[in-house]
């Protein structure tokens, strides 16, 4: 009798464990948790965790476990190794992460070979999503902001000439190409293009900005990775007296990243950016998101566009898990995400069924002082923006 009971208990135990295993979805996260990208990784990571925490009931009855790997740097090689390990050692069901474009580019062949859904939560070089059929992007393409900004500069800011300064790596070149194409299409002229060092370390921007100042353009369009690069850009712009010289500093929202904006202080006032998110956006989802973020991580912290990339990316993964009832088959997961719509803190978003890239609003914002803090005031909005690089099949975005 006792023997029977033990056997029955063991059988029950075996059943529950295998049941639990079937319920668990392993998400492999590849982010630069140490090194220059550490603060970005923290933002995306917190965005993902916050979604899971706020939506625990939407995840049930399944369990999502995050297996985090450090990809260390923007170089590509370490990211490739991390992704390979996530696939072969941890047997993850879904991949997620990617702050830096070179890492997503280097990982593409591994992702393709591993045949797992891979959600890009930041890396913005336009053609990345064409490099693997398993890539889905919940962040942005450089063309979303760059292309929209080119047109807005000429039409709304009445700029005739522009100098473009960019960090010399794939998204920088992408940003330059996007801005130049649309700015020159509406009659503007890019009078100088200045590569300003790499993404691995923040350079002293003085010589590059001195060069830009000497060219006396109407607008100075700058793409640098958000974070410390951006803080240094705004500081140098102010210190060289470029505003007084009548040169407007514009760019994608990386230069006014929410996490850096208050520290920039008065130097940031007047900056004009085109982006899909900042923490001052006025919509109910964003109000809830920002409030929950401050409650979870401290009143002094703020989410930003990277945090939203992680938050929406996790929403996409949860959607897949629910649709497929906890058994994530990659092909079916891709189908589930094509055309997926979500009310994001950045406004309504959709995954383009053709390109697997995001479709979202772009906001033209100006930094102003309000109640003693720098506030991003929306002065223009474009609905449902697609990645222009893939829409117009330009360069590496053209289907092979």
């Amino acid at each position: 009798m006792t023997k029977w009971m033990i056997t029955a208990a063991l059988a029950a135990l075996a059943l529950t464990t295998s049941w639990a295993q079937a319920q668990e979805v392993k998400v492999g996260v590849a982010l630069p948790y140490t090194g220059i990208g550490a603060e970005f990784a923290q933002l995306v990571d917190r965005g993902m965790e916050l979604y899971l925490k706020l939506n625990a009931d939407k995840v049930k009855p399944y369990k999502i476990s995050l297996i985090k790997r450090d990809v260390k740097d923007p170089g590509g090689a370490n990211a490739k190794i991390a992704v390979q390990e996530l696939l072969t050692q941890d047997n993850v069901d879904v991949l997620a992460g990617w702050i830096y474009s070179p890492n997503a580019i280097a990982s593409a062949p591994i992702v393709t070979a591993g045949k797992k859904l891979a959600v890009i939560m930041n890396a913005g070089t336009a053609h990345i999503t064409t490099m693997s059929p398993y890539y889905v992007r919940t962040s942005f393409s450089m063309w979303h902001a760059g292309y929209a900004m080119g047109e807005a500069s000429a039409k709304l800011l009445n700029a005739k000439t522009a100098v473009v300064g960019y960090t010399d790596f794939p998204p920088g070149k992408d940003s330059l190409a996007a801005f130049k194409r649309s700015f020159e299409a509406v009659g503007g002229k890019v009078v100088d293009e200045i590569p300003m060092g790499g993404a691995g370390a923040v350079p002293d921007f003085t010589p590059f900005f001195q060069r830009a100042k000497d060219k006396k353009p109407d607008v100075f369009f700058v793409f640098v990775p958000a974070g410390d690069h951006a803080a240094a850009v705004v500081k140098t712009y102010a210190a060289l007296g470029m505003r007084e010289a009548g040169i407007k500093l514009i760019g994608p929202g990386d230069i006014t990243q929410d996490t850096k904006l208050q520290a920039m202080g008065a130097a940031a006032v007047g900056l004009i950016t085109m982006h899909h998110y900042h923490a001052d956006l006025d919509n109910p989802e964003n109000k809830r998101f920002v409030e929950a973020w401050k409650k979870e991580y401290g009143a002094a912290t703020t989410p930003d566009f990277m945090a939203v990339g992680g938050y929406d990316g996790m929403a996409a993964i949860v959607h897949v898990v629910q649709t497929l009832k906890g058994k994530v088959d990659s092909e079916k997961a891709l189908e589930a995400l094509k055309g997926w719509k979500f009310a994001s803190p950045r406004g309504p978003i959709m995954i383009d069924p053709v390109t697997r890239d995001i479709v979202m609003n772009e906001y033209l914002s100006e930094a102003v002082m309000k109640d003693g803090r720098v506030f991003q005031k929306v002065i223009g909005k474009i609905d449902g923006v697609k990645d222009a690089c893939k829409e117009q099949k330009i360069g590496p975005c053209a289907p092979k």
């Binding site: 090194g35 923040v202 350079p203 410390d228 803080a231």
Partner: protein
Amino acid sequence: MTFGVDVASMLLGGVAAGMVLFIVSVGLSVTMGLMGFVNLAHGGFAMLGGYAIALAMRHWGFGFVSALVFGFVLTAAVSAVLERVLYARLYGADELDQVLFTIGLVFMMIASVTLLVGPENQPLALPSFLRGQLDLGILQYRAYSVVLIAVGVVIVAALWLGFERTRLGAQIRAAVDNRRMAESLGINIARLFTITFAFGSGMAALGGGLGAEFLGLDPQYALKYLVYFLIVVAVGGLGRVTGVFYAALLIGVLDFALKKYVPQGGTAFIYALTILLLLWRPQGLFGARAT
């Protein structure tokens, strides 16, 4: 006229950058020359000092100048303790052990700062009189750069006098030139080294704080500018204050000019130039010929 203004602005920018390089690197050069110790954690001390200065200003109500003094003293004290407790054990060790030890120390510094303060850049707000533009007659220029150059000149003069005209300076020079001879003449090398090490780290801290306007301040500071500091020391020669000074100015101005006029070359030019230079003169541009 415009050409003159162009060159002047380039020189001002380059010299200001060179001053920061000098202030950080001078300690590295002297300690390397003195003990032949390869201290790759030197940039780490600059980072720690910069943090002390930024945090003192933001949280403890220090002014810019008093925070600089505080950062200097604190970093010098911390480094003196580390020197006695850790570094002193490795003076006889081979170079690989020294390199491994100091690199390990850098990683620990980076990890500790990330853990305690966070991975993000530390803003260091300059007092209002150092911000904005200064009218120099023929051109307007960034006030801070001009002040930094003046401060740099004062520091160089003070260091040169200390090095050339004081007993301690003479002892350091003697020890750099011939350590065994200096030791046999009764100079206490261990004590001398602790003093110069602490002073050099304090200078690095000062450089970390003064240079934050250009170089920023985050945990990675300890590693990402190390190459520049090492280039300055290699070009300037070991244990030579004036050599390091000329080298820092040369690198600062060259780097600035190359970035301004040929940005397409990226940041690679300066490395290529250094390689060529060291092939031509392995002891550095201003170093004494190896005997």
